[in-house]
């Protein structure tokens, strides 16, 4: 059943955002709807200043083949960056998120939307997503538990850059190696 819910801060809340131009690019030719809107990357880069004057919050959403570093210098005024997953098996968004957080230093909301399900949440949260709009047929409430699928992580990522091996060493400073 379709829903208008988003997971933020590990809780389910209504999602007021409208992702303009996902279903069809023609939407962009029409007046933007009321309320929070996320527009495609090209649209934001071309019309950012006009959009900033708008009443509601403005966000940008990226396709898997968008170059996230084009947002460098264009983050001011953005209330949201969303990354679209047309298929959950398309993993480009994971690298996009990593670059947005690490290279561009984006600290605002980073949202995954599209074909997103509970079995992706653990990985998505690790690379820096903090909001998740699940696919329409996916129940976000039952998905919450999957954030805790793993209590240990081997490698560093955006959520925790320190890999396990550095923690093992720190927890056992007396150990004599070799």
């Amino acid at each position: 059943m379709p829903h208008d819910l988003v997971i933020r801060d590990r809780a389910v809340a209504p999602d007021p955002w409208h992702y303009v131009g996902v279903a069809s690019a023609e939407e962009l030719g029409q007046p933007l709807p009321e309320g929070p809107v996320a527009v495609p990357l090209d649209h934001w880069l071309a019309h950012g200043p006009e959009l900033a004057g708008r009443a509601g919050p403005v966000g940008v959403w990226l396709k898997p083949d968008d170059e996230p570093t084009r947002l460098a210098g264009h983050l001011d005024g953005l209330a949201l960056i969303a990354v679209h997953f047309p298929k959950f098996t398309d993993g480009r968004g994971y690298s996009i998120a990593t670059l947005l957080r690490r290279r561009l230093g984006w600290r605002g909301e980073l949202r995954a939307f599209g074909d997103v399900g509970r079995d992706q949440l653990f990985y998505l949260a690790r690379v820096g997503f903090d909001a998740f709009r699940l696919a329409d047929h996916r129940d976000p409430r039952s998905a919450l538990a999957s954030f805790d699928d793993f209590s240990v992580r081997y490698q560093g990522s955006v959520d925790d850059p320190i890999p396990l091996f550095r923690k093992r060493a720190a927890a056992n400073p007396e150990a004599r190696y070799g």
Partner: protein, 558 residues
């Protein structure tokens, strides 16, 4: 070998719980087949021709005897009493029930094993030299590095949904026993002029429809940067590898289409940002992991043993086995032993649960309780005292594990083929069996000399046919099974891809075709020249002429 600590145990236990829940949701209809597929594949579970196929990881081919005994118990309890070792050094079960797989997974976890990322579009099992740690020609023991890579690649959040599967191999020896350059990333240990240990990175190798030997992407990466440089390569691939066509989705296609220089430039760009990354490996971590691979308690022994020498002199069959299946060891008085899984009449790489138990006992008694799986689908006891070789041979012979043909024609490397695999175009095992049957004279086999024969049932090339001296590929022509033959491929430092000799053959013709290739070689060879060297020297023409007969026949066959 590496032993889990509480962290490693927790990760595997939580994975088992996660997969148990995913399987439950699938069986309850909460997950569709399309949704479940990538999840089960990331846990090594295929749905195959007859039943699920479940692939158990054997990280860098290393097994403890207690693990092998557990595998023996698993194949008896959940399967039909046998398993199949693959060219990726994993163990495949052909007949498990879907609902049992979470139970098998839990049993694996109890002996520090798993099936994580043995399939799917993720970073697969890391492979290395099956003589790692004992080879006289190695620069360093690659296993600690392989274990560090295993941990780093396990559930890497950025690289869990790659365009396609991703395979990494490491080689630290002068001779390459890993087929390094057919991997997505090949890492070769090197020393700089200043004596610093580093890594030469190859990327973009692979088999399949477009076989490519990986080019060098960077000549020298400091070893501490093994993970950061892999991250840079994988990020470029994850973002830019093709996702629109499964046949063009491997990294080799990206490297080829960008060109090596441009690909390397992009990797450098990513890597520049990772110089200060916490993923830079510390001395403490290398030392911690390396401690797990410390040499066993070797005895001080003379380099030779008189009783062994006497057995070699007086027992022809034993001498032949020693010649083919016993390998040099860096410690005097010790040798590495190949236990052959190439007994004629048995599918290459297959082993019964009872044989596993016997091998586990042999490992305990003669080789410090450990063994290895080789990419040639044999098992290796790496640390056998030379004076024990005769006893090991007798026990192995009684168990059907002493076929003295390592490196010879009938040591066939083969995928499971169309008898089991739903991807295959053609059967592999009956062709292997027919060839082994034709060449059953050991004297003749030894006279033919070193010859790698590889069979793949389809272009996925699980049997590595591209690098076989003779490669056989199953192809589908109008719904029937045919076999294309290539010659001149080779593994090792001088790796090369074989060339197709001409139109394909029916299964029944294959023993004749192989025999004609061998006859041609025997007629043309110079002293001490291997089959593949003769092919290199004289080219394909004489082989083609002999196999396809005169020009008229050739035209008809085409």
């Amino acid at each position: 070998m590496y032993r889990y600590d509480d962290h490693d145990r927790a990760i595997v236990a939580q994975r088992v719980a996660q997969f148990r829940d995913q399987t439950r949701r699938f069986l309850a209809g909460e997950l569709s087949e399309d949704e479940f597929r990538p999840l089960r594949l990331q846990n090594g579970l295929y749905i195959q021709r007859h039943a699920p196929m479940y692939r158990i990881a054997v990280p860098y081919g290393l097994l403890a005897s207690r693990q092998l005994r557990k595998l023996a118990g698993i194949v008896r309890k959940y399967d039909r009493g046998y398993g199949h070792f693959s060219t990726r050094t994993n163990l495949q079960l052909n007949w498990p029930k879907l609902a049992d797989v979470p139970e098998i997974y839990a049993e694996l976890a109890s002996v520090e094993m798993h099936s994580i990322q043995t399939s799917g579009n993720d970073i697969r099992n890391i492979t290395t030299d099956h003589f790692a740690g004992v080879a006289p020609d190695e620069l360093v023991d690659p296993r600690p590095y392989a274990e560090i890579l295993r941990q780093w690649s396990t559930f890497h959040p950025e690289f869990a949904y790659l365009p396609r599967k991703f395979k990494i191999a490491l080689n630290a020896a002068a001779e390459d026993r890993t087929v390094l350059r057919i991997h997505d990333i090949g890492i070769e240990f090197v020393k700089s002029a200043e004596g610093e240990l580093g890594l030469r990175f190859y990327a973009g190798g692979g088999m399949g429809r477009t076989p490519i030997l990986a080019p060098v992407i960077r000549e020298f990466v400091p070893w501490r940067h093994m993970l950061t440089y892999c991250t840079a390569i994988l990020r470029v691939y994850n973002r830019h590898g093709r996702r629109d066509n499964i046949w063009k989705a491997r990294i080799k296609i990206l490297v080829k289409s960008l060109g090596v220089e441009e690909f390397a430039r992009r990797v450098e760009e990513e890597w520049a940002d990772l110089q200060e990354s916490p993923d830079v490996i510390t001395d403490a971590e290398l030392a911690r992991v390396a401690r797990h691979f410390a040499p066993p308690a070797y005895e001080t022994l003379p380099a030779s043993d008189t009783s062994h020498a006497r057995h070699v002199e007086t027992n022809r069959a034993f001498a032949r086995w020693v010649e083919r299946n016993v390998h040099a060891h860096r410690v005097p008085g010790y040798a590495a032993v190949t236990l052959s899984l190439k007994k004629p009449g048995v599918p290459p790489g297959d082993i019964t649960g009872d044989q596993m138990d016997i091998v586990a006992d042999l490992a305990d008694r003669y080789s410090f309780g450990e063994l290895r799986v080789s990419h040639e689908q044999n098992l290796v006891l790496a640390d056998v005292r030379i004076r024990d070789l005769f006893a090991v041979w007798q026990a192995a012979k009684a168990a059907g594990l002493a076929t003295p043909t390592v490196g010879l024609l009938t040591n066939i490397i083969s995928c499971p083929g169309g008898d089991f695999c739903s991807l295959a175009n053609a059967k592999s095992i009956p062709v292997a069996a027919a060839i082994q049957d034709r060449f059953d004279d050991l004297d003749y086999l030894h006279d033919i000399g070193e010859l790698d024969l590889n069979i793949s049932g389809c272009m996925n090339s699980c049997g590595h046919h591209h690098v076989g001296h003779i490669g056989i590929l199953g192809v589908d022509k109008n719904g029937s099974e045919w076999y294309q033959v290539s010659i001149g491929g080779r593994q090792g430092k001088a790796a090369a891809l074989g060339q197709v000799i001409g139109p394909s053959f029916a299964a029944a013709e294959m023993p004749d075709v192989i025999e004609k290739l061998i006859d041609t070689y025997l007629a043309l060879r110079h002293a001490d020249e291997r089959f593949v060297d003769t092919v290199d020297r004289v080219g394909l023409a004489p082989f083609k002429a002999r196999v396809y007969g005169d020009a008229r026949e050739l035209a008809r066959a085409a």
